[in-house]
Subunit: 308 residues, 4 copies
């Protein structure tokens, strides 16, 4: 039983270095940046992730990071996104997830702090506003709340709004609890079916929407089974049993545990409510910096600080 | 200066009985029901409302009404809607307005208590669920928050979801403060440009969406200018000046008052937060009753009570 | 390493039947009621719980329970509380916990739906209101938010309000994940130091406050270490190792796991947001029934439904 | 009929300059500061405000003010408060009002962004934390929600926490709509009975609590009657009737209008939800600056930015 993860970085770690995958990392102050590029279909199959680029930004204690570190993360995020969005045209930001479930509300929180400009730029003579790039945003909600697939709704909106690209924000599931609210993943491969805390039934990709789809995600949960597996693995090495030999025993056990209802259970810090707000603010700052190249940082913070 | 109102009933009162307009009223317990039908283009022009039917349900103290009275209102609302929606096909409910502004949040509150079924009915063998009519819902947010016209978004969604009709919920502006949170208007004419607390720039009508649009609205605000006008009118009759003669004086005055910043100011009871929740619940119950003809009242309350 | 639990029922299960502790259970429809009574100081020491009565109400799927089952639970809760509160005098309900952390917000949610009457009963001639028992309530917040020990604040309030008893509502930590949002514990022993999701530094008891303290709690979290232990124990029996022999190995392992940061991690269903609201409503109904003996059920639901 | 105002500045304007009252004003950039000092009991009676100092800070468009202007206001607020609080000892900040009613939620919003330190300063060896002054805070809620007079609760807490002074934050009613969310009043006279949006039944003063009480307030509402009066007064001067002669006619009219239900109606900008958040942040910054004299501005913003 392979425990699900939405982080390409974690999938990659299952295999040492492999053909068709390149990885490079750099550390800058408290921040670690890793770029995983999946180049071949064989590698994509093995890692169970589509071909493309996956950039992860990691800060061991992101939500308690000081102002400068948070700004550094926002800037690094902006650089990653800038490299993926088309240079011209309006952009549609989609906040995925369920705003009524804290661990799944990242997307709608980001939208709330985003600089929305598509409706301003035409109707103003203001010099500053004329330098705005058109950005619009929507938090469509989840199937259980709307009765509609997110993909249906976004597709319909894209056909009327004609953005140059879609940027989707989502809460992810990871395999290591240390990833929760400490890692931001940016990818040019969009959102795949079955990913995310909410387990999207359909994906959001260039194939389905007809425009490039950049996905920004942060792990908010790990499955309870993860904890079980970690503990079992520890024990085996502790009592000197090589893990390989007992891999099967472990899997069947995890199977049991999951069966007993842990499958639905997610491990999340009790402070997830606070964490979501902090990370959402960093992502919103990063997006505002990336999507408004003709504004200065100061202009952006002044404008976005005045939004609801 | 004619002060704006979204209630056909109030527009109608400006004129006594007139050709092309029929009105009938009935009182039932604490509830007054009035049906205004605008039949000719001339009448439509005069009343500044499109041809069609406008049903208003009024309860003097709606938000303190006891359980039975609230149920009576929900049933009357259900009857009104049943008469307007097509008998078959999925239905899309649109919660208009800005969830971040209490007086404009009616739409999204209603959505939150609505029975969403479109995604269930196909994927279940449950006898009860098989009797569900497909209902989906979206609270698209407002231009200032999304950067997109609500009409653009809804149009795009309609083209993908193909509902038999759209039901739009909106917070309205009225001309008499006694209307706030006491009156529910249902009309088969949809949402017109410039209507609502949020002043929609574009309308939502059968012409623009290609399917029938039923609008359900509740006055949440009156303009501050309304209070001024009421006071002035009172005074004139009080000091024995016939209103007609001084109509112009009043208007120029109101003009001044508005100019001095009252225009943006809305009069709303301090308890609007509580009111919105109460009225939203009644409307949600009414919609659930109207849109699920094959379920009993009890089944509906059990199901909807379990929704988030 | 003994993993913490706030449920007397779970502590009791660590030992078979023991002197100084009586236990009786009954099943009624979907609901199981268990009454644990700790009678001797020796037993209290062993179970690490003070002498007194602990009543637990359990419903396997409490938050999806149908209306009748929820009502049954509310009534059983009311019976349990009625047996513990003094017959006369005002009552102070204290909602413990942090309203900003979903898993810790039970207390303030219950307060929000409670029938508050202390200020009404004196100032009205209404026949119905004259039958009210005086109830007041406060959600004092947590040390990290207020800078004050909850016990300090409640003590100060008690000295001015002079209630006949205090009823404290709190979110609990349990040892079995199956207990989360399925079990309601009522005890006449008050709140002990170190208990609750928020780990109260000081207790709320008759000794500290000078009036009887009844505590109502619902498990909202289990420690991640719990999952690890469950998995390890399963494995041992699975590969035929008697648990006793390896108890120490397990404990040291759990120690490691906890050390590696799981200690702070709590396992909670992703839907905890929805769960809290549902359970809070049941508890509020139960309290309203118990604390207003001179009102009929119908009167209570009408009144409480009208509160914010 | 004298329309109520909580602003000493507005009461003062009813009379020209008068014995026993001194007033001085200064303008700094966009900000106007006015200091009204009531020195004699006669003046106090006439102005219907207790003897003491009333400092008002005014910014025509406070909630759209740029970052620098908001900082300037926070600093001016800090100066005003510094002059009123005792130099040593813990401080208790009380957020008055009803968090469920937007126009009355200022107090609890301020508490949410306040730097709470009383519980930290003892339990840390951290050099920075050791420079903290002890601040604790509570948002006790309103009579209708708690069943207890706010004054009872605060008094009880004060007796246990022994603060050197109490700082109460409250939403006010003003007489000119232009005052809403543009004016911050600071006074050393505490909270008087009948003041505030919520109309406190009892006051919070040095007499009742035994320690100095500083009150910080912002007008959030004006009575609908205010609009009526403005319009009538305008009209009279417009049609050349000297106001004095018709003062009585006006008053009786306002009486009528109020009678017709406007009394409860408050005029508030539709955007009050957004406004409250903005002003609350400025006040919290001002308080943090005033109450932490041994911290630098930068240290304060870093710490408070990390609070929930």
């Amino acid at each position: 039983m392979q425990i699900r993860t939405d982080l390409a970085m974690e999938s990659r770690n299952d295999f040492g270095c492999m053909p068709g995958v390149t990885t490079r990392s750099r550390t800058q102050g408290m921040m670690e940046e890793t770029v995983v590029t999946i180049q071949t279909e064989d590698a994509a199959r093995l890692l169970d992730k589509p071909c493309g680029q996956y950039i992860t930004l990691y800060h061991r204690d992101l939500i308690h990071a000081e102002a400068e570190d948070r700004l550094q993360l926002a800037r690094a995020l902006a650089d990653a996104i800038r490299g993926m969005v088309p240079p011209e045209g309006d952009l549609l930001v989609v906040g995925l997830g369920n705003r009524h479930i804290t661990a799944d509300a990242l997307g709608s929180h980001v939208i709330d702090s985003l600089l929305i400009t598509r409706h301003m730029k035409d109707i103003t003579s203001d010099e500053l506003l004329n330098r705005l790039r058109g950005v619009c945003a929507v938090a469509p909600g989840v199937l259980g709340i709307t009765g509609m697939e997110t993909a249906e709704m976004v597709h319909g909106i894209v056909e009327h709004v004609h953005p140059a690209a879609v940027i989707a924000i989502d809460a992810l599931a990871a395999r290591e609890s240390s990833r929760i609210c400490t890692t931001i993943q940016v990818t040019d491969t969009g959102i795949r079916p079955g990913s995310g805390v909410g387990n999207h039934r359909l994906g959001l990709t260039q194939d389905t929407l007809g425009v490039p789809v950049i996905a920004v995600g942060v792990p908010m949960v790990v499955y309870a089974a993860v904890i079980a597996r970690d503990a079992l693995t520890m024990m085996l090495s502790d009592i000197g049993m090589p893990q390989q030999e007992h891999a099967q025993a472990i899997d069947s056990l995890i199977g049991k545990v999951v069966q007993d209802g842990l499958g639905d259970m997610v491990v999340t810090p009790r402070e997830v409510d606070e964490m979501v707000g902090k990370v959402a603010r960093i992502i919103a700052d990063g997006l505002n910096l990336a999507l408004q190249p003709r504004l200065s940082e100061q202009e952006i913070f002044l404008l976005s600080h005045d939004s609801v």
